[in-house]
Symmetry: C2
Subunit: 162 residues, 2 copies
Amino acid sequence: MAMTSLHDLFVHHMKDMYYAEKKLTKALPKMAQKAGDQRLRSAFEEHLKQTEEHVKRLEQVFQQIGEKASSSTCEAIDGIVKEGEELMSEAKQGEAMDAGLIAAAQAAEHYEIARYGTLASWAKMLDMPEAEKILHKTLEEEKKTDEKLSKLAMEQVNRKAA
Amino acid sequence: MAMTSLHDLFVHHMKDMYYAEKKLTKALPKMAQKAGDQRLRSAFEEHLKQTEEHVKRLEQVFQQIGEKASSSTCEAIDGIVKEGEELMSEAKQGEAMDAGLIAAAQAAEHYEIARYGTLASWAKMLDMPEAEKILHKTLEEEKKTDEKLSKLAMEQVNRKAA
């Protein structure tokens, strides 16, 4: 795909995020299943619902810009999820697993924070206030999830693992 | 590698970051070369120097914990760098390229922010105050670089690209 304008870049990165969010809807249930800590399991389950909502929001933005919602392989999220899968196969279930699961989830959150930050700022530049608003809402939710995971790690999981 | 304790996880993620930082020392000169905007090129060149320093700091931490500095393939950074390379081959040089380069660099920054945040918090839990201090210093620098890139994007590059 040739990318000659900011609009092209915007569409390209929308497809990348659409792929990423859908991939995460498949990864999160496995992570919830591996989590030993009940609060961590609940956090993953809650974030799965949010992620399903984020997929729908991306579809709304595609509709607003007159593009069919479609995915483009996102090597970054593939790599992040693969690292998480390796962790799940190699870590011992329990405290070490939980600490590793949080680290994996935060890598995914930060990827999304970077991408939604970029998309929201491009939407603003492209004078698409409705798209910007939607993308910004998701961005704020990803940031909150990241903070929640940090808090869980600090309070409980890491302390038990040490 | 079996990961049964938080210490094992710490060493595993240190190797992952050592690979990631070294990979970025190879990616950044290419990004600087593609950047059309002078301030963006300088930002990449400056961050390259910082990244080389981050490699040395990781070596210090390896030494502190009595481990040989070594790399473990980091699929996440491989994916992030691959996406950046695709962008560089597909985007038109100029404003769209610059906006895309910033997005690619911010994806890398956020990956590092997630990982250094995790490593610093694990170092704290493992009662390694010197390692924590070093990792925290790098974390703060990655956050500053991310902010600088956001500012550059907002002020100049995106405006020109729209």
